[in-house]
Each structure stands twice: as structure tokens, then as C-alpha cells.
């Protein structure tokens, strides 16, 4: 290719228009599209700002001033906003953490099976089933947890409390006034463990579906590199698939965690929660979650009480935000090694 060709001097004003370099007419399609997309982007800011303004304007008074007579009775009884809100925040995080502990290994395992072990036909059928599970409404999960899972597990909880009570989480014994120990198991299995199980079940499909997509994107090149070094299938997964998929798995887990933190209906139906902090899983004393508490109490509250509930909502919002930022931090800290370059 020669670079010495002189540039064309005339700009085709006289000859046919298709060779002209002059902008012919305004491109309405372009303008419209760029307008719509910038508008949509702007909309996110507007909505976020609106939500944040609403939350803070309603929540700040509730967080800072003394509870008055129109506030929630429980807040007054506990002696202040934070004595009430922090246990709820604990219950929210605790139930979500338990759910994650159960759901993540299960979901990643299923995803690996579907992407790297199952025959293609089986994988496809399983994929549909997982999608189906994701489509079950949370109120149905709640009903099922309440009416089927909890009573079914109750005998198991009993056994767990009798044989494994040395493990603090499973200990549900309480001393009576005369010093005798009595079991204080939740009625009908409606305890934190059941609620966490149902939560786990609800977030498993989304983590599975996303992880599977990520696993499938592992370049064949890297898998072959590993196999050619004499890796077994599992070693190949450990060496090539999992490290490559790590950021994706973290993102998937965060989505699941977000859902678990904010899940309202299932927890509200299964768990007769109270405002308290305990790690024990089997007792009738269970911490409530923010979302479930709001749903259970909002209809009857008024005035200052509403603002207190909104303040709790703001705390939930902040928890979710922090969780997401931590996840982003984890992903960014190993960006160089992500394989994106």
C-alpha cells in the first residue's frame, strides 16, 4: 500500500452525493437513540436520588430522636431505636449467612455438574428444572416451608437437640426455675434453621444458573492446557475452571445474598421472629429479619412508628450496599489475574 497518494481535493459537491464528505442531513435515528439511552442512564440517578432522599428524610428523625407515643411499642420497650434496629439487622444478616452457607456449595456443585460432568441431554433437562425452581413465587416457598418442610423436620430437630446439643448452635435446652433443663424447641419446626433452608432453596437457582454460565465460558484452551499437563477432570476444574470463574461466582453469590437479605414473605410466614440476638438455631426464640419485620408491622403502625420502620429499611439498604461493595472490592483486587486481559 502506498502512502503517497494525494488526498482527494474536492469534496464531491458537484458529482454524485454518495462520495460527498459533507454531512448530508441530521440523522434522526442517531439523535433519538442517543437521547433514549442517555435518558435511561440519567433515570437511574433520578430514581436512586429519590429513594435515598425519601429514606433519609423519613429515617433520620426516627434514628436520632427519642421514641414518642406514636412510635412502635417495641422500640420504647427496648429503650431506643438502635437497641431495636441492631438485633433486626443481626437477624437479617444471620439468616442470609446461614442460607449462603447452605446454598453456595450446593449451587456451585450443581453448576459444575451441569457444565462439566452431565451428559448434554441431562444438563438441558436439569437447566429447565432449575429455571422452574427460580420461578416459584416466594409466598409459595413460604407456604411450603411452613406447612411441609417445618413439620417434617421437627422430629429431626428434636433428635439434633438431644444428640448434638454440645454444639452451641443446636443447643435448645433451658434451665427452669427449679434448675431442671427443658427443651425449648420451636413449635412445629418453625425455627431459624428452617427459614434459612427455605432461603437457601430460593437463592440456589439463581446462583446455579449464573455460575453455570460462567463455568461454560471457561476457554477450552485453558481446560486443554490443564488436561495436557496430566490433570484429572477434577484437577482441571480446580486449576482452570474455578479460578477463571471466581469473579463470576462471587457476583452470582452476591445476587443470591441480596435476595436472601431482602426476602420478606418466606421468612415472615415461617419464622415467628422476635427482636433479639441469638445464634441458636432450634429454639422458639428466633431473631427476626428487617424485611419480614417491616411487612408484619407496617399495616398497623402510624406516624413515628412508620418512620422507624422506614429507618430499618434504610439500614437494610445500607447492608446490601456494603455487601455489594465488598464483592466488587474482592473482584477488583485480583483483576490482573482475572484473564480479562
Amino acid at each position: 500500500m502506498s502512502t503517497q497518494t494525494p488526498p482527494a481535493e474536492q469534496v464531491g459537491t458537484e458529482s454524485d452525493d454518495s462520495h460527498s464528505l459533507v454531512r448530508s442531513k441530521a440523522r434522526y435515528g442517531d439523535a433519538l437513540f442517543s437521547g433514549i439511552s442517555s435518558g435511561s442512564a440519567l433515570m437511574i440517578f433520578v430514581i436512586l436520588a429519590a429513594v435515598a432522599t425519601f429514606l433519609t428524610s423519613q429515617a433520620l428523625p426516627a434514628m436520632t430522636s427519642e421514641p414518642d407515643h406514636t412510635g412502635l411499642s417495641e422500640v420504647s420497650a427496648l429503650g431506643g431505636f438502635w437497641q431495636w434496629a441492631l438485633p433486626l439487622a443481626f437477624g437479617t444478616v444471620w439468616s442470609a449467612v446461614l442460607a449462603m452457607l447452605m446454598a453456595v456449595p450446593l449451587a456451585v456443585g450443581i453448576a459444575l455438574y451441569l457444565s462439566h460432568y452431565a451428559p448434554r441431554r441431562v444438563a438441558r433437562i436439569f437447566g429447565y428444572l432449575i429455571d422452574l425452581l427460580a420461578a416459584v413465587p416466594s409466598v409459595v416457598f413460604g407456604l411450603w416451608g411452613l406447612m411441609v418442610l417445618a413439620p417434617t423436620l421437627h422430629p429431626f430437630y428434636k433428635w439434633l437437640n438431644e444428640t448434638m446439643s454440645w454444639f452451641p448452635l443446636f443447643n435448645a435446652w433451658q434451665a427452669r426455675e427449679d434448675g431442671e433443663l427443658r427443651p425449648v424447641l420451636a413449635v412445629g419446626g418453625q425455627n431459624m434453621l428452617t427459614a434459612a433452608m427455605v432461603l437457601a432453596l430460593m437463592i440456589t437457582p439463581i446462583i446455579t444458573a449464573l455460575s453455570r454460565e460462567v463455568f461454560l465460558q471457561t476457554p477450552l484452551l485453558h481446560e486443554e492446557a490443564s488436561l495436557a499437563l496430566g490433570a484429572t477432570r477434577w484437577e482441571m476444574v480446580k486449576q482452570a475452571v474455578l479460578p477463571f470463574s471466581r469473579p463470576g461466582i462471587i457476583s452470582a453469590c452476591m445476587l443470591g445474598l441480596g435476595r436472601a437479605l431482602g426476602e420478606t414473605m418466606a421468612v415472615a410466614m415461617i419464622l415467628p421472629g422476635k427482636v433479639l440476638v441469638t445464634f441458636k438455631l432450634l429454639t422458639y426464640n428466633n431473631p427476626n429479619t428487617i424485611a419480614a419485620y417491616i411487612a408484619q408491622n407496617f399495616p398497623e403502625s402510624e406516624g413515628f412508628g412508620k418512620m422507624q420502620l422506614i429507618a430499618a429499611g434504610l439500614i437494610l439498604f445500607i447492608i446490601t450496599l456494603v455487601v455489594n461493595m465488598i464483592a466488587r472490592g474482592i473482584i477488583a483486587s485480583r483483576r490482573e489475574f482475572s484473564g480479562a486481559n
Binding site: L221, H222, E224, A225, L229, G230, P243, N341
Partner: protein, 259 residues
């Protein structure tokens, strides 16, 4: 530790597709053997059958024997994983593990053997392998940086270092330079000539000059016609194949009067 490879009456299938027919070939140790031929003639498939990497594709199987110093790689009790630890492979596109540092990449194969290796021994192995791949001087100051930050040619040499770190008997190379610039290609070719002092090297290449430059023996593969399985047409000393081949098809291909 270089070993002789004997391929006997080898047919390779992918499910119902008959990819390669009736290959008989002896690959000498401490020498470079080049596989040449047009695309789709089965040379890569034959190469991959030497460490059973073609089995990555579902439904692949072979009929015939591939003997590594007399041991059939397709024997009843043979574990493909073990085969691949003795027969290393370098691929068309450089594929260092992106999540690992240069050092970890070199050690990747050793780690698989679950060998608990003292740090000092690891350091030694990393240096020896990287020196063996003519890469040491370029990366010795940044062993903990990601392998994916290197240039294409350096990445490919890193992959070679990774392959020789587990001291294989054979190194297979599937068009190792096709994604590289001429300077990097030259570096790899020099390296190939050095590798044959210790290993049996088999290389697939589309680059005729490359085959002529680096190999001692050349094997020419071709299809009788489209849709037929690939076959080994002729094998001999590189000198002879390039200057005085026995088969007309070989001469046509070498001189570019092909197809």
C-alpha cells in the same frame, strides 16, 4: 528420557466420523518430526492421539496402537491422565493460566502430582524450566506477575516451560507459532532445535519453511478426496521430502501446486 513412538495401523474416529485412516509411523527420539498437510487432513488429530488429547471431544476413539517405547498408550489399563504426564503438549495459541503468576504457571503441572516440593526445589525447577524455554532472562525479575501480561511469543515459551517442568518424554506442538510474529517464531524455532537434545519433539505446522528449518523427519498427510479420512501419504528425512519426494501428491503440496 526421550522415547520412541510407534504408531501402528491407527484409525481415529469422532463418533461416526472417520477422521484418520491407517497411519503407520515411527517417530525417533531426540529428533524433531514435523507433520505437514492441508487443513482438515488429520495431522492435528494424529498428534493429539499421541497423548490422547483428542479424547477431550466426546465420542472420540481409536483403532490401532500408539506405542511409547513399546507400551501401548491405548492398552486396557492405561490411564490417559498418566499418558499426558509423559507426553506434554503445546498448543496453537499460547494458553498460560490467566489466574496464575509466571512462577505458578511453570509449577502448575508439578502441583498436579501432589508433590510437596520444598520452596528451594520449586525455585530451582522454575529457573531450570524457564531457562530451558529461553525465557528466564526476560522474566526473572517478575516471576510473580501474571503470565497473561507477557507478549504472545513469551507466553508460548512460558507454555513450553510449563510443559518441560514435568519432565515429559515427548513434547507435542500443535502449530506453536501460528499466532506469533516472525521474531517470536524464530525464538521458538531455536528453542525447538535445543529441545530435541532431550526430548522427542513432534510438531504440526502449516509453514513449509518452518518444517524445513526445524525438523529432521517430515510426515505428509493428505485426504484422498474431500470427505474421505485423512491418511499419511509419505514420511522420510526432511531433506528428501522437500527435494525428492516419492509421491506426486507430496511434491505438489511442497511446491504449492496443490488442490
Amino acid at each position: 528420557m526421550a522415547k520412541r513412538i510407534e504408531i501402528k495401523d491407527l484409525d481415529i474416529y469422532y463418533g461416526k466420523f472417520h477422521a484418520v485412516r491407517g497411519v503407520n509411523l515411527t517417530i525417533e527420539p531426540r529428533a524433531v518430526t514435523a507433520f505437514i498437510g492441508s487443513s482438515g487432513c488429520g495431522k492435528s488429530t494424529v498428534l493429539r492421539s499421541i497423548n490422547r488429547m483428542h479424547e477431550v471431544i466426546e465420542g472420540a476413539y481409536v483403532d490401532g496402537q500408539v506405542l511409547l517405547d513399546g507400551v501401548d498408550l491405548y492398552g486396557k489399563d492405561v490411564d490417559p491422565v498418566r499418558v499426558r504426564r509423559q507426553v506434554g503438549m503445546v498448543f496453537q495459541r499460547p494458553n498460560p493460566f490467566p489466574t496464575m503468576s509466571i512462577r505458578e504457571n511453570v509449577l502448575a503441572g508439578v502441583r498436579l502430582n501432589n508433590a510437596r516440593m520444598p520452596r528451594s526445589e520449586q525455585d530451582e525447577l522454575v529457573e531450570k524450566s524457564l531457562r530451558g524455554a529461553n525465557l528466564w532472562n526476560e522474566v526473572k525479575d517478575r516471576l510473580d506477575r501474571p503470565g497473561s501480561g507477557l507478549s504472545g511469543g513469551q507466553q508460548q515459551r512460558l507454555c513450553i516451560a510449563r510443559a518441560i517442568a514435568i519432565s515429559p518424554d515427548v513434547i507435542l506442538m500443535d502449530e506453536p507459532c501460528s499466532a506469533l510474529d516472525p521474531i517470536s517464531t524464530l525464538a521458538i524455532e531455536d528453542l525447538i532445535k535445543e529441545l530435541k537434545d532431550q526430548y522427542t519433539v513432534v510438531i504440526v505446522t502449516h509453514n513449509m519453511q518452518q518444517a524445513a528449518r526445524v525438523s529432521d523427519t517430515t510426515a505428509f498427510f493428505n485426504l484422498k478426496k474431500q470427505g474421505e479420512p485423512g491418511e499419511l501419504i509419505e514420511v522420510g528425512p526432511t531433506e528428501k521430502i522437500f527435494h525428492n519426494p516419492d509421491q506426486q501428491a507430496t511434491e505438489d503440496y511442497i511446491t504449492g501446486r496443490f488442490g
